[in-house]
Amino acid sequence: MRYLTYAEAINETFHQLMDQDERVVLIGQGVTSPWYVGTTTVGLIDRFGERRVIDTPVSENGITGIAAGAALAGIRPILVHPRMDFMYYAMDQIANHIANWYFMLGEKMNIPLVIWGIINRGGEQAAQHSQALQAMFTHIPGLKVLVPSNPYDAKGLLVSAVADDNPVVYVDDRWLYNQRGEVPEEMYSVPIGKGVIVKEGKEVTVVAISYMVVEALKAAKELIKEKVDVEVIDPRSLKPLDTELIFESVRKTGRLVIADGGWRTCGVAAEIASLVSENVFGSLKAPIRRVTLPDMPAPASRALERAYYPREREIVQSVIELMGGNYS
């Protein structure tokens, strides 16, 4: 088996997708820059040229609409927003136009567009360079939302996203970029809407989103020492969400912790908690716990960042408290 970093997996996928299908173009701010998108776009401009690797001005709303228009005309664009925070500028095109177009115009015109948004948490980057906005997009009807957590899924979900006939928001967390994992060289797809059990367990279900899967797996290891057997689920896709996988696990364990790198109120964790309460309430042996960001903007200082971003420790603590124990 071959091992690649997450960033290398994405880079390889771009090369393969663009080589295989000339309708695929990459457009957005910084696609030819050595830093905005990490190493994910290395070699693309030299190989495919400016016609298909289109670096753009900082005109997020305009460029998002332009990518959508190109998608309406038969192109398969991958549009990058190298810092998700700037996607607020593009909210009109994403929420009013792209998400509605197919429904609003009687299913006549679909927009096969991948909107690739990158989360850049930490690093003392403060409130406007660090936001994890997956819940915003999951809220809007008409968008699919993907949250890969490892190199294998990053590749397989990107392939599925480009093949999908609908707008897909593909959310990347930069903290994943150096993760290494097995990645087959050939093209393959990971189905949209199918989650996966990344670690089986019997006592507590931990549903973890995006980078929080990495922390949840560390927590699961730590919890073995505490003699708690947790099951870790990676939904991989927030819309559509593999609810049955989550319900089945909760039916087995009776306990649920949801770990998401976004804010708490009306967040992804809140939605999953409601779905579980509505559907498998009878299986719950304890209240559902959420591990999320607090309802506050990201601070700059590393001293404050340590408390702001939940990690393994917060997951371990929630699980132990859920089991009736104390953790300090």
């Binding site: 609409g65 990518a67 038969g74 177009w101 197919y102 609003m104 115009l105 009687g106």
Partner: protein, 335 residues
């Protein structure tokens, strides 16, 4: 206001076949009669979806769309019926959509403001001011990638000039020399606000200068002028010279939304509205065609009779069509 008008003359039409001129006239009549009928149906309570009538602006849609090929694409706004009809969209499906019926062009899900006829290159209309401008640029980007010669047109009003996305779109299209034409229908009012109260510079066409693209201001109520200037913009785009901004001076007779003339409201002076009515784009064109012997009273009567028959057929179709079924054929959110 007289300075806005460019008179019709033989020189202006010298390269245009008489048949084309008659077709333009017929299309303007079709839009006018359609919109008047829609206005009446709104007053009668038969139509409820908000309708932004195009009456008074017909020369813009017709002049532009007649300069395009069927494959060329247009995007429109909340005031979209005229563009849809001028591009060749089916009026039965349009009326049914305005009735919000299942047989409408958007299956009753879009209503008046969200209509589409992709089979004739009318790719859709958006009710968010300025929102469809980048979509048109996107289609032209696809044309340049695919090298297929397809032109895209963005129709928008003077209100859209105050949206940031207008400038983002112009910059990118100019930068990449894309085959797109920006058509601003300046009817002097952004809902209730005269443009002099919302724009520091009311000469819209000058916005083109900063992007180093051609920008012109024309009599948007002279259908032939609109047609010939659009043709020039098409040729320029086809030569790889990029976009053109065409500011068409025109006037919406009715209020911002619905059939009312809104003369009871302190928005537009009655004399101003009547001046534009007296300089009706259809009447002006008609007088010229008659003077030149291109159109006769008999032909005119025949045209109106046929147009009214089509519209009544569309109304009948819409009224007899069923409403969409709840849950019918899936919810239509995803393909």
């Amino acid at each position: 206001m007289q300075e806005y008008l460019i008179p019709f003359d033989k020189e202006l039409v010298k390269d245009i076949q008489e048949e084309t001129l008659i077709n333009m006239y017929t299309m303007m009549a079709r839009i006018r009669k359609f919109e008047e009928r829609v206005g009446d149906l709104v007053s009668e309570g038969k139509i409820r979806t908000p309708c932004h009538l195009y009456i008074g602006q017909e020369a813009v849609a017709v002049g532009v769309c007649f300069a395009l090929d069927k494959d060329d694409c247009v995007f429109s706004t909340h005031r979209s019926h005229g563009h849809y009809i001028a591009k060749g969209g089916d009026i039965k499906k349009l009326m049914a959509e305005i009735y919000c019926k299942a047989t409408g062009c958007s299956k009753g899900k879009g209503g008046s403001m969200h209509i589409t006829a992709p089979e004739v290159g009318f790719l859709g209309s958006s009710a968010i001011v300025g929102g469809s401008i980048p979509l048109a640029v996107g289609v032209s980007l696809a044309s340049s990638i695919q090298d297929n010669g397809r032109i895209a047109v963005a129709f928008f009003g003077d209100g859209a000039i105050c949206e940031g996305v207008f400038y983002e779109s112009l910059n990118f299209a100019a930068l990449k020399k894309l085959p797109v034409i920006f058509v601003c229908e300046n009817n002097f009012y952004s809902t209730h606000m005269p443009i002099s109260k919302i724009q520091a510079d009311t000469e819209v066409y000058k916005r083109a200068e900063v992007f180093k693209i051609p920008g012109i201001r024309i009599d948007g109520n002279n259908v032939v002028k609109v047609f010939t200037e659009t043709k020039k913009a098409v040729e320029s785009a086809e030569l790889g010279k990029g976009p053109t901004l065409i500011e068409c001076l025109t006037y919406r007779w009715r209020g911002h939304v619905g059939p009312s003339w809104d003369l009871d409201k302190p928005i537009r002076p009655k004399e101003e509205v009547m001046w534009w009515v007296n300089n009706c784009p259809i009447k002006r064109f008609e007088a010229f065609l008659m003077k030149e012997g291109i159109l006769s009273d008999l032909e005119k009567e025949k045209i109106y009779k046929e147009v009214e028959r089509e519209i009544e057929e569309a109304v009948k179709f819409a009224e007899e069509s069923p409403y969409p079924e709840v849950g019918g054929g899936g919810n239509g959110v995803f393909k």
